[in-house]
């Protein structure tokens, strides 16, 4: 008995010793390595751009994906990783760290290693939306944005094909005529929620707002006559529109997707109703500017191929949409300002 406890104690002590040694090392080692690197990089980044652009990755780059496999954000991220591997000559590994509409992953890696080998891939609706709805207390400024590299095919406001409404105006006017009788399906807290808030508070619509859930669930509810109108990703609704079961009133993008130019935009009715969901790559805060620039260049190069254009045309119904670092930041700022202006009524 005593021997047993003695052994146990010994094991525990050995474990804790290794732990102390271990954690001590891991804590100090990267700090020691990165601090001077960051300093020199910043110095060189501002002083001599020629030297700065010489940053080249030499080992595996890890991209942490905020959304799960099977979704559009994941697919675009993996396609980008594939293209980047060819340009950079190192492996680019995508790992899904999911939960809370991407907030878990962003929280976990926003203060990650700043050596350029840790990147985060997400979409802008999650990045700015989570901040606007108050789920997290940080936005794009908690990161070093690397590049916006694509535009989603967007959300459309849809109704069943036999519905009397043909435009967004019809729908809003009808709701004003009979307040609280038109059931409008949303997913509370996400981009669709923001959109419903704009419809109500700026557009003056008086729907009976009903939470239904994600895109597939909203489709289910619309088909099952549990709601009268809702917003669906175009990719989900496309086939039903074609089959004559659903009718699209408008897209919530600022302008119709490049390959579907004939759609009306919601902003024609309500100028503030613009939800442009873009795919974006971020680096942890403090990643040196030269590394960000080098990565952005690599992304620009990787997405300039005919293959990429084909893929984006097929999958997003858009033309390639890739921005350099300055434009990326400007774009994110614009979107954040818009979303923040909704905060009072979210």
């Amino acid at each position: 008995m005593k021997k047993f406890f003695a052994l146990l104690l010994a094991v525990v002590m050995v474990l804790s010793l290794t732990a102390c040694g271990g954690s001590g090392k891991t804590e100090t080692a990267p700090a020691a390595e990165t601090a001077p690197a960051a300093e020199t990089a910043q110095a060189s980044g501002t002083a001599e751009t020629a030297e700065a652009e010489a940053w080249k990755p030499t080992k595996t780059i890890n991209i942490y994906m905020t959304h799960g496999a099977g979704g559009d954000t994941d697919y675009m991220g993996r396609k980008l990783a594939e293209a980047l591997e060819k340009v950079l000559g190192v492996s680019v590994v995508v790992t899904n760290v999911t939960g809370s509409n991407g907030a878990t992953c962003m929280q976990q890696y926003k203060d990650g290693d700043t050596d350029g080998y840790t990147l985060i891939a997400t979409n802008t609706a999650a990045l700015t939306g989570n901040e606007a709805t108050g789920m997290v207390d940080f936005g794009y400024t908690a990161f070093e944005p690397v590049a916006v590299y694509g535009m989603q095919s967007g959300e459309n406001i849809v109704v069943p094909a036999n519905s009397p409404y043909n435009t967004l105006d019809d729908l809003i006017e009808a709701s004003k005529a009979n307040p609280g009788t038109i059931r409008y399906g949303i997913s509370t807290g996400g981009g669709v929620y923001i959109q419903a808030c704009v419809l109500t508070n700026i557009g003056g619509a008086q729907f009976n707002i009903v939470d239904v859930g994600d895109g597939a669930a909203r489709l289910n509810a619309l088909l099952g006559d549990s709601v009268d109108a809702t917003s669906l990703p175009y990719s989900t609704a496309a086939q039903y529109i074609e089959a004559g079961q659903l009718k699209s009133l408008c897209t919530c993008l600022s302008k119709a997707p490049d390959l579907l130019p004939d759609q009306r935009a919601a902003s024609e009715t309500i100028p503030e109703l613009v939800i442009d969901t873009e795919y974006v790559v971020l680096a942890p805060k403090g990643t040196p500017a030269n590394i960000v620039k080098a990565l952005n260049d690599a992304i620009l190069e990787a997405t300039s191929t005919e293959e990429w254009k084909q893929m984006v045309n097929d999958y997003c119904l858009q033309n390639p949409f890739v921005l350099n670092v300055e434009d990326t930041i400007a774009n994110l700022k614009e979107q954040r300002d818009l979303f923040q202006s909704f905060v009072p009524f979210l």
């Binding site: 052994l7 271990g22 891991t26 080692a29 419903a196 009524f345």
Partner: protein, 174 residues
């Protein structure tokens, strides 16, 4: 009837009632949603429902236990006083298993998967082996532990891309 069964009602009854009370006290701290589409049935309603249900059910078994105890004592049974030390000693393998498991997951992040798995599997095998067989178990246990740590790390980290922590081995560029 139910000799000493009452203990299995009273202790869980007390613990779970306290837990339910604690849970119910946390409910008012939930931020209620006041935005678009909010109704009187808020995000506190169902927690109150479950918390209340748990409180009632645990009070039920608590009362049942007390009645059973009275009955047992009335029938001439003795309230036995099992010493705490004895109980701990009787369950020492279980306690040791939980301690080693806790240390395993607590240190996995900093020390790394490989080293912690190696140590944990070795220790856990010994815990699950009768004392008299320890001598002939050391070597097979060590081999099992090393194989499990190495193979699983390689397969899941590199082939299946699971983020198993590298920990201190990162100095070797793993």
């Amino acid at each position: 009837m139910s000799n000493k069964q009452y203990k299995l009602d009273i202790i869980p009854g007390i613990v779970l009632s306290l837990f339910a009370a604690f849970y119910l006290l946390q409910v008012p701290k939930i931020v209620e949603f006041k935005g678009l589409g909010s109704t009187p049935l808020t995000n506190r309603f169902v927690p109150y429902l479950w918390g209340g249900a748990l409180l009632l059910l645990s009070l039920w078994i608590l009362v049942r236990g007390i009645i059973r105890r009275k009955k047992y004592l009335a029938e001439g049974g003795r309230a036995d006083k099992n010493s705490f030390a004895e109980a701990v000693s009787d369950k020492r393998e279980v306690i040791a298993s939980f301690i080693s498991l806790t240390i395993y997951v607590a240190l996995m992040g900093s020390v790394g998967f490989v080293i912690m798995t190696l140590i944990y599997v070795f220790v856990q095998i010994l815990i699950l082996t009768p004392r008299e067989n320890w001598k002939k178990t050391y070597l097979p246990a060590l081999i099992t532990a090393a194989a499990a740590a190495g193979i699983l790390f390689y397969v899941f980290r590199y082939l299946l891309n699971v983020l198993l922590p590298v920990g201190v081995l990162s100095v070797f560029g793993l």
